[in-house]
């Protein structure tokens, strides 16, 4: 049969965002794939060069619309490295709390959307219901459900409100039961098992060579987790296990995310206990004034002249819900970065689409690309 190219996207129910998967098919069989992205490119790295450090926090939320706070922290950690600022311990713990709540909400929405793609409708509603409980927690201490603007150079904007830790514990207790329920729904469904086991296999050697990170890599039995291997924030003091699976298929990625959610609940409980015992400041004292001040009105630019701040390079890397995210900031003494670079794990995970897809059939594509968990906001930046 003659081969032909098909565009799946940019508007296609499988894509969960705006991108185009071009596939070359021989009948139903995929023989080549060429993903195209860039539809959501907003030039965030360029804009960063024109904004002071705190002025781009709001943009970082929009980098990834399901894991905004991860990107806030990523950028802020790199900026702190470039400027030589250390946040107080309580701020670091609140950051870890935020990261794990974000991982929960991101993985839950992945679960909801993925299982619906596969053909199970009810878990979608379970997932959306429970994700809102996590987002309510976010709202109670950051003021927003998804675009938080909460991290600051030198700490976080405000402490958690009175009674937050108890409220958060209640949600974690609720999730304990619900996560088991999620697994039961999938593991007892022959539809789900048939469509995920042995589908979209990407073995460890290939995955490492392709630069794959995050749950997709851990599902290929590689125990790499930046939180443990190169700990940042308060992670050195946190006790948790790295979830791995040896399936290297869609089912393995599902199992890894399920286990990660349980570990996140475990981490959140540890952080809450710590927060109860250790009151303190959440913002470092000696933060340069220009970092936090708003833009001057026109004609008053004198306030934004160079302050002679030390030149430096800041680098941060973290385990974002989708994988290894990195930020690289070069400070040349001005109040905004000379160069800011963001590494998106999804960018790389999409680039390897060919390796997941070749040899499978068109009907496997939603199952395979869904299991990678693509978020185009962060791939395109």
């Amino acid at each position: 049969m003659s081969e032909m190219w098909i565009n799946m996207g940019p508007q296609h129910p499988m894509t969960h965002g705006l991108w185009n998967l071009r596939i070359k098919v021989d009948g139903e069989l995929i023989v080549d794939a060429d993903p195209e992205i860039g539809y959501l490119h907003r030039g965030i790295e360029k804009i960063c060069e024109y904004r002071r450090y705190n002025e781009v926090i709001t943009l970082m939320d929009r980098t990834c619309y399901v894991a905004g706070i991860a990107w806030e922290q990523l950028y802020i950690m790199a900026a702190e490295g470039a400027l030589g600022i250390t946040p107080p311990a309580r701020a670091e713990y609140i950051r870890v709390l935020s990261q794990e709540l974000q991982r929960l909400s991101s993985h839950i929405i992945w679960y909801a959307a993925y299982v619906q793609d596969i053909g199970l409708m009810t878990p979608f509603l379970y997932g959306m219901r429970d994700r809102d409980l996590v987002l309510d927690l976010f709202q109670s201490y950051t003021g927003a459900r998804m675009t938080y603007e909460y991290m600051r150079v030198g700490g976080v904007r405000n402490d958690v409100p009175v009674g937050f830790t108890d409220r958060c514990r209640k949600v974690m207790d609720w999730l304990d039961g619900k996560l088991v329920e999620y697994e039961k729904v999938c593991d007892n469904s022959t539809i789900f098992l048939d469509r995920t086991i042995g589908v979209g296999i990407l073995k460890a050697k290939e995955a490492i060579q392709d630069g794959i990170t995050g749950p997709v890599l851990r599902a290929a039995n590689v125990a790499r987790d930046i939180r443990r291997d190169r700990p940042y924030s308060a992670y050195p003091e946190i006790d948790f296990d790295v979830a791995i699976h040896d399936g290297a298929d869609c089912y393995g990625r599902y199992r890894v995310r399920m286990e990660e959610m349980k570990q996140s609940v475990r981490i959140v409980r540890q952080v809450l206990d710590w927060l109860d015992r250790n009151p303190g400041p959440v913002l470092a004292e000696k933060v340069p004034r220009f970092v936090g001040t708003p833009s001057p009105p026109p004609g008053k630019e004198i306030y934004v002249e160079r302050r002679g701040y030390p030149k430096g390079r800041g680098f941060s890397s973290m385990e974002e819900p989708h994988g290894e995210a990195m930020a690289y900031i070069i400070n040349e003494g001005a109040e905004h970065p000379y160069r800011a670079k963001l590494r998106s794990p999804v960018f790389v995970n999409i680039a390897a689409a060919k390796d997941y897809l070749i040899g499978y059939r068109i009907s496997d594509i939603p199952a395979i690309m869904g299991s990678v968990d693509v978020c185009l906001g962060e791939a395109d930046r």
């Binding site: 195209e36 860039g38 490119h41 030039g43 790295e45 360029k46 630069g211 890397s317 670079k341 680039a351």
Partner: protein
């Protein structure tokens, strides 16, 4: 992986012995295992050496910086053995910068190099498919060059990406 892995302390001297005069350490980078300045012609052999003997099997990032008088291309490598990052940097002339591609060494560098070409106009010789990745085909600028002003009208002449 071929050969036995070197320990981290042996790595700089092994590199200096294998590539005399081509690799110089950059001091003062506390957040990396090491930062090395590499001559452009040595980037592929050094990469191969680091992957095979140095256990840096994961190429996390390839990016670039426009210093106006030169373009710096940065490579960040991760090793599961040492649990940390290694930074390589290459200085290229500002007009028509080009350097050998490391995609044959790490296929994960493929899209990072495409993005660096797209954003900074660095050509990667030997890259299998050096097209723009974020900006549309037919776009005339490399937006992360310092000569590209943010508020300048772009006079877009964008062709359809595919017909």
């Amino acid at each position: 992986m071929t050969g036995t892995a070197l320990s981290l302390s042996e790595l700089p001297s092994a590199l200096a012995g294998k590539f005399p005069g081509k690799v110089t350490p950059v001091p003062g980078r506390k957040d990396m295992l090491a930062a090395l300045k590499v001559l452009p012609e040595a980037i592929v052999p050094v990469s191969q050496f680091l992957r095979d003997q140095g256990t840096f099997e994961h190429c996390a990032l390839v990016s670039g910086v426009d210093w106006i008088d030169r373009i710096e291309v940065l490579y960040h490598l991760w090793s599961d053995e040492y649990k940390g990052y290694l930074e390589l940097s290459v200085d290229l002339p500002a007009d028509e910068p080009h350097v050998a591609s490391v995609t044959p060494v790490w296929s994960g560098a493929n899209w990072h190099e495409r993005e660096t070409w797209d954003m900074l106009g660095v050509r990667f010789d030997g890259h299998p498919d050096l097209r723009r990745v974020l900006m549309p085909e037919g776009y005339r600028f490399h937006p992360l060059r310092k000569s590209f002003e943010l508020r300048e009208p772009e006079e877009l002449e964008v062709k359809a990406r595919h017909v």
